[in-house]
Symmetry: C2
Subunit: 310 residues, 2 copies
Amino acid sequence: NSSAKVGAKCVRLNGALIKQLLDSVDSVLFDCDGVIWRGDQAIPGAPQVINLLKQKGKHVFFVTNNSTKTRKMYADKMASLGFNVSEEEIFGTAYCCARYLKSVCGLEGKVYLIGSPAMEQELEAVGIRQTGAGPDLIAGKQNDWANVALDPEVKAVVVGFDEHFSYMKLNRALQYLSQRGSLFVGTNRDTRLPLEEGRAVPGTGCLLQAVETAAQRQAHTVGKPSHYMFDCVASQFPVEPGRCLMVGDRLDTDILLGSNCGLRTLLTLTGVSTLADAEEHRASGCPQRQAMVPDYYVESIADVLPALQG
Amino acid sequence: NSSAKVGAKCVRLNGALIKQLLDSVDSVLFDCDGVIWRGDQAIPGAPQVINLLKQKGKHVFFVTNNSTKTRKMYADKMASLGFNVSEEEIFGTAYCCARYLKSVCGLEGKVYLIGSPAMEQELEAVGIRQTGAGPDLIAGKQNDWANVALDPEVKAVVVGFDEHFSYMKLNRALQYLSQRGSLFVGTNRDTRLPLEEGRAVPGTGCLLQAVETAAQRQAHTVGKPSHYMFDCVASQFPVEPGRCLMVGDRLDTDILLGSNCGLRTLLTLTGVSTLADAEEHRASGCPQRQAMVPDYYVESIADVLPALQG
């Protein structure tokens, strides 16, 4: 990146610039929550943007760190919101995590799962057995916990979002991770799930950090900003980084993923990060923070609609 | 600390040096697990050492990061193992945390407790109400969790060891900690509870880190190496740091507490840390790590027995 390019970053996208940018890309990667929907409501105009991009021959993909849904669940949700999207275009971390274990790690054994029913299903779909989602009840005292029964076939610990996360699950993960050669994979490091009105609930990053602290090991994560999320798309579709645009609402996951993979990046202000956040990163003088400055921004993804309709 | 003193650190304590050291101190602070007992067994000779120190007019105190016992529970355990100790000499983090909230913070409201029945009891003993230990069941979906019913009297979140730690407790802590002016206190940051044969279970540090990550706030901790543990002793007994010895088996908690408070320090090798660990810290050239080098070491606390009997 030349300094001239850095200087021109964080440009508001409008008018002729939109057309020019769209002409220069073949593929567009979208984050979902805060970009094309918020909770259960589509961002107004987002379905038309996606559908028109596809009509104009662009490849469109959806990359989300949320691990609580299968590709099928996402496809159903998107259909109900008016998006014309197929399962194959959707890359959630439940699916990507299963692919990673299968294709990159070549995992032969079973997975000890801290996660959701969706993760169970995506693991089973690629032929990986797992120990099951749901509660794990506490029994006995410290010595019993340290000697808890372990499944000898388990060769990996996987941590995703799990509303049944508990001390006993943390303990079981520690015991499996103390075994020689065990794999340790997390879906993502998002520390909070943002909801409406500034509210939030704890994200997978909190659970993963507890397991990492107990196990005294770092997990490999597949979610944004890890480039595996892009590699997973690129392993299935002809995607050229230089002709690809990443659209997201978070600087530390979406925009950083784009920077990490050599994509152009577009921040939309309908979600978590603000323009002030981006400006702060730009002014920081720190290369790591500058990787979180987007090339472009829009108020809403709907801002690109006129260029697509014209 | 002169460099001459640093150079003379980590000296094996024996013969005349023991007598000389004991003559130069009025008070001795002991860690418990790994120092005077292991699990439910006294370290051989430890009860005699403690009892003789007291007979010779030394003040003896016990400072432990374990938050699962009240002072009374410790006194009962110690009596059963042959130690002649009173409740007032015992400073566990369940007790110290309650004292900290009462005396240092002047807490008027109630505590949201992630912790044990022992913590309930120590809080109630100083007149602080709390929400109770035990399970917290999950109900509903993300929006319900973010809007979970909160007790309006709660003004502090306290995190200690809790075998019922769960996603829902993590979530409730996040919601309380998002309230303006709420206090946030942890008992300690030990990441693992070491057991026999190299086994371990997750420690309070894992739970605390999950809550800190979710809340995007740092807790104040009362346990070692935080100097509050020493301040709490010194607020109740006449203890002069320069005439006080700290005895422990962990460099990162016990020895560091001693260094932080200007005490002399003695490592015993019947617990977690090894002499090699201490030598590594000494050789590091890093002042923060050198604060974890003890002044002296013994194989076992029993090594000081001849000097006391002679």
